[in-house]
Symmetry: C2
Subunit: 236 residues, 2 copies
């Protein structure tokens, strides 16, 4: 109801991505939304997107339909499309769902892991330590993501990672607003190490407990955002 900012063309070219045209448009728009280059509440203008990306309305329509399905945009029938506002309810739900999937994965991996899988987690842990020592926060951020993905990969269920990503898209977007504080990185490393030890000891319950604690650290930090950046959250 407040801002109807015109959709500027800060949208990287389509050729960065691969797949069908619709897929490329989808990825380009998703990245723009998740990286907050498209701000919550902003109106998406199909005509401009078509022009900027040099495609017709069909692939853009399909891409927007997928984004709507994921909850990243709100389509008002016969009227318009806008980038979804942040919603603490959505974020809490996404966090819960992702936690459910990660907990199940880590328990399974703690039970069933092979030595080569463990070696891969071990290597990732050592990499995290190394990056912290060097103060490479961005690198640590990526290693962090990998640490969370490895157990899901090791379950042998290929869709798991995609589903985990799908349910936590809102969380991912919200995390973009959290400044990477160095102190937090060290804490994170410690919490990861607790999960790692439990996997090493093949102790599913301990692994779940450690991961539950670790994931529980995120929501309070996001909740603080609703206070500092209220304009990004839905007004309803």
């Amino acid at each position: 109801m407040t801002n109807t900012d015109i959709d500027a063309a800060r949208l990287q070219g389509i050729s960065t991505f691969e797949g069908s045209l619709a897929q490329k448009v989808y990825l380009a728009l998703q990245e723009a939304i998740l990286s907050l280059q498209f701000r919550p509440g902003e109106v998406l203008r199909k005509a401009l997107i078509c022009e900027k990306l040099g495609v017709s309305r069909s692939p853009v329509a399909e891409a927007i339909a997928r984004l709507a399905n994921e909850g990243l945009v709100d389509v008002i029938p016969q009227s318009g499309t806008r980038v979804a506002y942040f919603s603490m309810d959505d974020i809490r739900e996404g966090s819960f769902l992702r936690q459910a999937l990660e907990l199940a994965s880590v328990a399974k991996v703690a039970s069933d892991r092979t030595e080569v899988q463990f070696a891969q987690i071990n290597r990732n842990m050592r990499l995290q330590t190394l990056l912290i020592e060097d103060g490479d926060i961005l690198g640590f951020y990526q290693a962090d993501e990998e640490f969370h993905e490895l157990p899901m990969l090791f379950t042998g269920f290929p869709r798991l990672k995609a589903v985990a990503r799908l349910v936590s898209l809102q969380v991912t977007r919200a995390r973009m607003l959290l400044l990477p504080t160095p102190g937090r990185a060290v804490e994170t490393l410690d919490e990861h190490r607790a999960v790692f030890k439990a996997i090493q000891n093949r102790n599913p319950d301990a692994a779940q407990a450690a991961l539950r604690y670790h994931l529980g650290q995120l929501m309070p930090r996001i909740e603080a955002l609703a206070e500092t950046r209220p304009e990004l959250f839905q007004s309803s």
Copy 2:
């Protein structure tokens, strides 16, 4: 590679459903696939679907795109679309994902439930007992589904049920092949009661254990299908 059966018009009218045209077509096709009226491997012919449902290609294309996203159909680019075969890998994965979500839900509900929520579960349990006593297997099947949905509803996370449904679509389709055996219904009731008792006692661990055991009963029965109905499973 084997059968390229022509897509017959056993597809109920579109007016049964509500929403946009694309949504109606999507629901109609999904129901036909889940109920096995469209058999695995069968080729979907857009032209026939358009004619039968009296719509143009646009909503049909959108519907098929969504079904492909869910894994219910396989689209071969520039070539054709066919109903996905059963895949034990997919089914095992769906079962794992659904279990992860249900376990998380039931633990949360065992911890946080209100008295009015408990009363609703209690009512459902008594309904299940009643239907078993009357030998109403179909009615019990529906009460069974509700029993599994209630904890998800009580979490207060509206998307949870939809995500659980999404990840276990293949399981749902496979369940259609399982004959409802009366003996199994009685066992099911006992297993449900164990979950119920744990929720009553506000014991999350016991609730998870009981539900884990209950859900663990399903996969072996589905696995038997791969032996008896191999033509429905992917040949790869």
